[in-house]
């Protein structure tokens, strides 16, 4: 009896391993090992071309005392606070609208997906042109309604809002597609049943659609936060962190430290500070999901 139990358990462990190893091995080799490498680097002074020099926790101490570190985290939080609500509300709205029967629906979905597949270099060039303070179309439209448009990304106060706007525009389609996939997986019987019970419109949305979509929503929020904290591409190509450092986010700082300033150790330390922040935020979300995410 115990023997068979043990062998059943062994077989089960084998099954679990079979399912996990194909992803666990490459992740360990090609992500965890480099992560350990960067942790090691963070304890050194290193400009990549001369040998590393051990400095212990100096990089961390130095970073924590620097005004620039606080500013970089501040700009990153600013980005998230603007970007996340915009992209989620917009993407959700689109997914709901484009999930209904409608002529040309597939074409419309593809159009909304265009920015997602375009490269940031192109998108940034274009937004810089649209938001050109002098002759950009946005300020021209604002002038039509009697508003004096701001300096957008050339003005330190408006640089981050410009980046947020461009990012939300680009990622709307991403959120839409994930939520659409979630919506399509909701069995029609559920909604029919709700209809029979007299739940329509907002009620059906609140009691049927939203709860059934909560795993997809949870995914979007967690991933958007993880990616938001690591915002880089759009900043790098739109403003390079400027003007006057007004949009210098954490990863832009990491990039500059590693590849432009020859301070790979400090860059690694900064990444690990960022890691701790993201980890805490994500753990809080995983904790909180029990209250609102509905698993089948």
């Amino acid at each position: 009896m115990t023997r068979t139990k043990a062998s059943i358990r062994l077989r089960y462990a084998g099954t679990v391993a079979l399912f996990l190893l194909p992803s666990a091995i490459p992740l360990a080799l090609f992500t965890l090992v480099p992560m350990a490498g960067s942790l090691w680097t963070s304890l050194h002074e290193w400009n990549l071309i001369t040998p590393m020099r051990w400095v212990g926790l100096d990089n961390y101490v130095e970073l924590l005392g620097e005004e620039r570190t606080r500013a970089a985290f501040g700009h990153t939080l600013y980005f998230i606070a603007g970007y996340l609500p915009l992209v989620y509300a917009g993407g959700f709205g689109l997914a709901l609208l484009l999930n209904r029967a409608m002529r040309g629906r597939n074409v419309l979905r593809a159009i909304y997906f265009l920015p997602v597949v375009s490269s940031w270099v192109v998108v940034a060039l274009m937004w810089k042109w649209l938001l050109n303070p002098a002759s950009g179309i946005v300020n021209q439209l604002l002038a039509l309604v009697g508003l004096d448009g701001p300096g957008w990304w050339t003005d330190p106060d408006w640089a981050m809002p410009s980046i947020i706007l461009a990012s939300a525009w680009k990622d709307l389609g991403f959120v839409m597609v994930i939520l659409l996939a979630g919506l399509q997986a909701i069995p029609q019987e559920y909604r029919d049943a709700a209809k029979v019970d007299g739940a329509t419109g907002f009620k059906s949305f609140r009691h049927i659609t939203f709860p059934l979509l909560s795993p997809a929503t949870f995914f979007v929020v967690v991933i958007s936060l993880i990616n938001g904290f690591q915002v880089f591409d759009q900043v790098h190509v739109m403003t390079g962190g400027g003007p006057a450092g007004a949009s210098q986010v954490v990863v832009e700082q990491v990039y500059d430290l590693t590849f432009r300033y020859g301070r790979a150790g400090a860059a690694s330390a900064l990444s690990w500070l960022l890691f701790v922040v993201i980890l805490l935020v994500t753990l809080v979300q995983i904790r909180a999901q029990r209250r609102w995410v509905n698993y089948g």
Partner: protein, 268 residues
């Protein structure tokens, strides 16, 4: 009436989304001289394919496209397989330490690539794999993003579906392959697109790990059009158009496939 009201914002939004792409196409068709005025003024009569011709001359373009395509396809296929299997384990196979392991998976998403590039390069160097297709592919064999996305999709599948199969005596591999995979096709198709895009647009890692021109990918090729002091924007835009089209085709194909599969599975 309601339908029309609903269509208006969607259509307006679509215009906003389309505009930049149209602008990219127009720029790519603009002859050198007409790019000069600010903002560029462009008469349709002046359209020229010069930029595309120059793009073909500037680099072994088809070789580069082929490289990008095969790397992207390989990494997408590998990720679909490895991620969906792990996702199944995390959603359906309880084992001690499952949540902790899942947290480790998620943690791999939390350190920026910008800081992993150097240690990963040193690791590839240690095993003598610098400048190979395998090294290009290595960081994209598995994807924690994919595991997470697909775990959420599997979690959405009512348990009755696979429990019924288990009662029929099916093992987990069979349940996974014949019950779960067909049910999460929309999510798989979605992830396939994202995996493909990520590989297709990936820049920093290929830049660092590749040195032979024969391994060059599209983003590297496009970047080579930026000189120290000047850039030929119409050629860059032509390159962008060419690089977006395959993904768009893939998306349209995947979208069709998703809808077909949902209809087939009798869920709708």
């Amino acid at each position: 009436m309601g339908k029309v009201l609903r269509a208006i914002p969607v259509l307006l939004g679509a215009l906003v989304m389309l505009f930049p792409f149209a602008w990219t196409v127009v720029t790519s068709l603009t002859p050198d001289g007409a790019l000069l005025s600010i903002p560029p003024d462009f008469a349709p009569g002046d359209a020229s394919l010069d930029a595309y011709r120059r793009l073909l001359e500037a680099m072994p373009f088809w070789r580069i496209v082929l490289n990008s395509a095969w790397i992207a396809v390989a990494s997408t296929v590998l990720q679909l397989l490895t991620s969906s299997m792990a996702a199944y384990a995390f959603a359906r196979l309880p084992f001690p330490g499952r949540n902790a392991l899942f947290a480790v998976y998620l943690a791999t998403l939390m350190v920026p690539m910008q800081v992993l590039v150097v240690p990963l390069f040193l690791e590839m160097r240690a095993v003598n794999l610098v400048d190979t297709y395998f090294a290009l592919l290595a960081p994209t064999i598995a994807s924690a993003f994919g595991v997470f996305l697909l775990r959420q999709a599997i979690a959405q599948v009512p348990r009755e579906f696979d429990e019924a199969a288990v009662l029929d005596g099916a093992g987990h591999l069979r349940v996974f392959a014949f019950v779960i995979v067909p049910l999460i096709r929309p999510a798989l198709a979605t992830f396939a697109i994202f995996g493909f895009i990520a590989s297709w647009n990936s820049y920093l890692w290929p830049l660092v790990i590749i040195r032979s021109p024969e391994f060059m990918t599209i983003p590297l090729g496009l970047a080579s059009l930026h000189g120290e002091f000047t850039t030929e924007w119409n050629v860059v835009m032509a390159g962008s158009v060419v690089s977006v089209v395959p993904i768009l085709v893939l998306y349209l194909f995947a979208q069709k496939h998703v809808i077909a599969s949902v209809a087939q599975s009798g869920l709708k």
